[in-house]
Symmetry: C2
Subunit: 697 residues, 2 copies
């Protein structure tokens, strides 16, 4: 049951696609409301858990910190931060009452979840203008279905999640610093030569002509369409980046068209607002305006026409390195410091003057959108920008490529954007703690509809080590977006730079698991379920499971327990029920063990992946050895109906009777999946006999 | 057995106090030497562990990163950093061969411990001038004694660790921002009123007159000696900070004397080198010169004479906010950027220009010491500065207060400084990961002789939460230096700001445990042992114990397993042998359980401390209820010989026979502990009968 309560006069976000009944006079249930709706307050019981907030710092259980929805370009994702790149105002309270709450407003929202007092949650809005949706499971819902059911209802409210092409479930390599076609060829050769599977290479800002969107550096890529073909012949998809800011440059058609049509955000005088990002000075397309979205989206066709089938949208908080106006002020102020005998406070002022040029609240409050016929100041709709840039692309793809799925994921986001693209978790670091962080973010993102997501494997900033990359891959093989990405100036971390045989073995597991990963992803997308779930969702009565933060359920059959500690020889695992452990070193080299419910220390060498299969469950596999997703599709059914002594056809845990798995598949690229979908029922009995049968329509 | 190998012509550091035989022609054992001794290389086996490096980032096992000995004022102790405040060039290799290695050189040393290749360690020196000590246990040493024995030999080589007064084992409260006597009174009242034990209040830079060392802000502290007395009457010791830089100010006697006598570090032209730190422009006393040490050390008497009995030395890497010369250059360069149309690279240059004013290698290479009759450039002896500032104080205290122990700890350090003071681990953050980091640093510091140490409880930077402070205290009650400290502008985190009853209960445990903590500290200091040990030291044959990074042995009787995860309801604990668990909520409220060797999930609510007692071991306790260390000393023996139904006299695990504990105590303030020491033998049998007897001399 969903109750919608409108407070004040909210700005439309289009997060919600289903109409919910709104009774204006109604109070927000459970919460105490004060300051005319600007503050909501809720007491928390000792063992209550608060889930949600999507892409944020800290735990699966969000208690004990203050989080602010304020999309921020901040590359230091430490525990002390309050905002990352996304605004995902959905919470799920698992206490005496179990309910979800979605606070639909594009402005800043502050969530004090047991920060000031451990037993109190306070939600504070900058403006008392928002829609509040309170979501509860229907009466009579079984306890172990309640959390899932609430998410299910919420997802129905906000519409179906974005579905990428199947090749986007392959492994991708990225780096800021692949400057030329030759650089990319070298990477592909590195993978292919070492027989490490690979499906895509990402092109960061280097490929553009002076960081101009929808252009190419002609020297670095003299015949780009031909290069795209060359890569495709090797089953490699190139995925270029698109930035939010449009370079100010006479004769650059995107700039000229934007100016001619008044498509850019303006300053208070109505002139295009000037900020600086990668290209130097830029204007921001006013993507909140549907006409601008259509125009900007159409520009993607430049690359689509060259054979490109996927993109990532970046810098779309939007990040601002400096604004033209403020930079001038700073240079004026610097004069004052010049001949001063700087005492320590004035010295820190000086440092801040230059150090805080970027992403200033004052700059965000100094430009305007033309939104639904009104001039609206950017900071009031800040959290919608990346969403609408990605929506521009998503809407364009539907027009330009009506039959084909196009890969799209974004850095900045708001709920609603999940219909147009996935996200990656931005500029993380080569830190062990960031494997754990990404694990904790995934289920929270799934709740809000962001199913196609993952973090930069190996870490973007800082220097990666061989063991860190290995352990990170061991988690990354389960994330729908599986991409190794790193920053200019950091240590090279392509898988072949290290022990390429062992890296190939681990990445190979992804391709072996692909039938299951794709099937579970699609089922979650189509039915509004979660691909990654905290243990609490399936074992809500088990207090240990409820407080487990370092294990996840992946789809219906599997629990994972990645090793996130450097130099560890294994890890503690809590089993809420009896499960079967598969310990994989490679697709062909593994051992199994049935473990009872309870605590176990499970050894896991650096090159070992732990997969736990739940009782009565099956995981369909592809034949090992695929080096790209094209090879997987052909092999999956064959593998399941074949017999092999050295490899499992399925992962399964069937002790009695017959287990059944509903295997979703489709051609992987048709946008109209309904036309192409193919459901097979896999059955396996205790003797290990596997049958595959097409499901009835 | 210690082998000393001299490479080149090393600069004397006085780290070593015992003469070791030096055979100049000898090669460094185990290592492959190249580049005329500038590079040492060692292959590591799959399961070899490398301990050591004192105050550094990452694990107890240092494998998988690159560490640089280069004392750095860097408040962001993330995994990606290579240097913190100390240079502790001692490693302990636990592999096919077990040995220690100490590389005695005051310059930069780079330790690549399985960073480039997981199986290789490489040590690289800037200059091939160093003394190398290779330390092995005597043949025939029992396996479980080898690591301890190597440390023991090393500690004998470098001399006895600093011993603070006993009151310094009480709990201390600190904050940058206690500006006046009234502020401090308010803090003390907050503690006393809430009956939370407290022994000291630290005075950060605020107390000085314009940040001038050995001065007082007269308005804030109109009668300081009287205030010191007032505090002492409440059993509170005030502990002021002393900074490295001396403010340049006509008439300020420290400055005037330093100038008159040529006591400051000079630039290349022989003029005093000017940097800026808190007071604005300063000169650095050339503490490498014994005459300067004597002069600077004597200045501490100003505060000693006012009744002060302890100090902390800060900013002594030395931190440099900017150098006069470079600031000028920057302002000149800023002119170039002024009218430029900043592209993105020039913009980042501009940001760096101002952002990297502090702690520049170029500044460290632009001033000089007068060391042993030679002019020596600072960067060649950089890592000795904080050490010698603290040595100045330590040497002065011996002269000025020959009978009394004075509390002293420092931020920057080098091995050798451990004889003159302890350290705290610098500007950490209110992050859960920093509880774990401090746990991992403690045993590594102990190896190098730094026994009196601890981290800022609750975290210095960032905002603390009630649960973080509680969990941090639960570890902090075991660190010899137990201090809550936080930065200006962060959330107030005095224990009474939160659930003061529960905070009092946890801090109360420290006072109950004090007889044991002090006894174990003193025994470790006097015999060159470790107070905190990784499990590997006592259970070297147990591979699980060897790879346990989140539990520590504390003294001879105890293992601890602090909870370092937010919202955790307990934690996994590995027991290398059968032990007795005490789960304390307060001194009077606890339960016990005997746990078998192996893995256990041990519940631990937010206000519960887990202490594991090893079989056949005893921990002597003080009677609960003490609110300062003065009260403890009187109560300890009484407690042990009393009987109580609700509280243990000892913590113990005696199943058969009689266990024995050698309890060290002394008056806690006499420098000549030999005169005052009092050893008692506590015996306890399986029936719980406790006897106490004075040991024979």
């Amino acid at each position: 049951m969903i109750r919608k309560i409108r407070i004040g006069n909210p700005i439309e976000t289009y997060a919600v696609t289903e109409k919910a009944e709104c009774r204006p006079a109604e109070e927000i249930p459970y919460f105490e409301t004060s300051q005319q709706g600007k503050k909501l307050s809720l007491m928390l019981g000792q063992k209550d858990i608060v889930y949600g907030l999507g892409e944020q710092v800290r735990g699966i259980n969000k208690r004990g910190w203050v989080y602010v929805s304020n999309n921020s370009d901040d590359p230091n994702h430490t525990e002390g931060k309050n905002s990352l790149y996304g605004a995902h105002n959905f919470l799920l309270i698992d206490g005496a009452h179990r309910f979800g709450i979605f606070l639909d407003t594009p402005g800043k929202v502050c969530f004090d979840i047991g920060y000031t007092e451990y037993d109190r949650m306070e939600i504070t809005f900058e403006d008392a203008d928002y829609d509040c949706y309170v979501i509860e499971a229907d009466e009579g819902t079984a306890a172990e279905r309640i959390l899932t059911e609430i998410v299910h209802e919420f997802r129905h409210l906000i519409g179906r999640s974005y579905i990428p092409p199947k090749w986007a479930f392959g492994f991708g390599q990225s780096r800021w610093g692949y400057k030329t076609a030759a650089d990319i060829r070298e990477v592909v050769t590195g993978y292919r030569k070492n027989r490490i599977p690979l499906d895509s290479v990402y092109m960061d800002i280097d490929y553009m002509d002076h960081f101009k969107d929808f252009t190419l550096d002609k020297e670095a890529f003299p015949d780009f369409p031909e290069f795209v073909k060359e890569m495709k012949a090797q089953h490699i998809h190139l995925v270029p980046i698109i930035d939010a800011g449009v370079k100010i440059e006479k004769g650059y058609p995107v700039y000229e068209e934007g100016i001619a049509n008044g498509y850019f955000c303006t300053d208070e005088d109505g002139k295009p607002f000037t900020a600086a990002v990668w290209p130097g000075k830029v204007h921001f397309p006013d993507v909140l305006n549907p006409e601008v979205r259509q125009w900007f989206g159409n520009w993607y066709r430049v690359l689509l026409n060259m054979g490109i089938e996927g993109f990532w949208n970046d810098m779309n908080e939007p990040a601002i390195f400096y604004s033209e106006r403020h930079l001038k002020e700073v240079f004026e102020q610097l004069e004052d410091y010049k001949d001063k005998n700087l005492d320590i406070w004035s010295f820190f002022e000086l440092k801040d003057l230059v150090g805080r040029l970027d992403n200033r609240p004052e700059d965000y409050a100094s430009f305007y959108h033309n939104y639904e016929g009104k001039k609206i100041r950017h900071d009031k709709v800040h959290n919608l920008y990346g969403y609408n840039m990605t929506r521009a692309a998503g809407e364009a793809f539907e027009r330009l490529e009506p039959d084909k799925r196009i890969l799209m994921f974004s850095r900045s986001s708001y709920i609603g954007m999940h219909r147009y693209g996935g996200i990656w978790t931005g500029d993380n670091q080569s830190w062990w703690s960031h494997i754990a962080l990404s694990m904790k973010q995934m289920p929270a993102l799934n709740m809000c509809g962001f199913l196609y997501s993952g973090s930069d494997i190996g870490g973007f900033g800082s220097d990666c080590t061989p063991d860190l990359l290995m352990r990170w891959l061991e988690f990354g093989i389960f994330t729908p977006l599986m991409r190794n990405h790193s920053a200019l100036g950091t240590r090279s971390q392509e898988a072949y730079r290290f022990d390429s045989r062992k890296m190939a073995d681990i990445i190979g597991l992804r391709y072996m698991l692909l039938p299951y990963i794709y099937s579970e992803f699609m089922k979650a997308a189509l039915s509004g379920d979660m691909y990654f779930r905290p243990l609490a969702f399936d074992y809500p009565q088990d207090d240990r499971a409820r407080h487990t933060e370092d294990q996840l359920l992946v789809g219906e059959s599997m629990m994972i327990a990645p090793v996130c500690e450097q130099n560890a020889i294994g890890r503690n695992v809590y089993l809420p029920e009896r499960m079967k452990l598969y310990r994989f070193r490679s697709a062909a080299d593994f051992d199994t063990e049935v473990l009872e419910a309870g605590d176990h220390f499970v050894p896991a060498d650096l090159n070992e992946v732990l997969i736990f299969i739940r009782p009565g469950h099956i995981v369909p596999l592809a034949a090992p050895g695929a080096e790209n997703t094209d090879e997987v599709s052909l092999s999956a059914v064959a593998a399941i109906s074949a017999v092999s002594a050295t490899q499992p056809l399925t992962l399964s845990f069937v002790e009695t009777g017959t287990a059944e798995y509903r295997w979703y598949d489709d051609d992987g690229y048709t946008r109209n999946y309904e036309m192409q979908k193919h459901i097979r029922i896999i059955r396996e009995d205790a003797a290990g006999t596997v049958t595959v049968e097409n499901a009835k329509a």
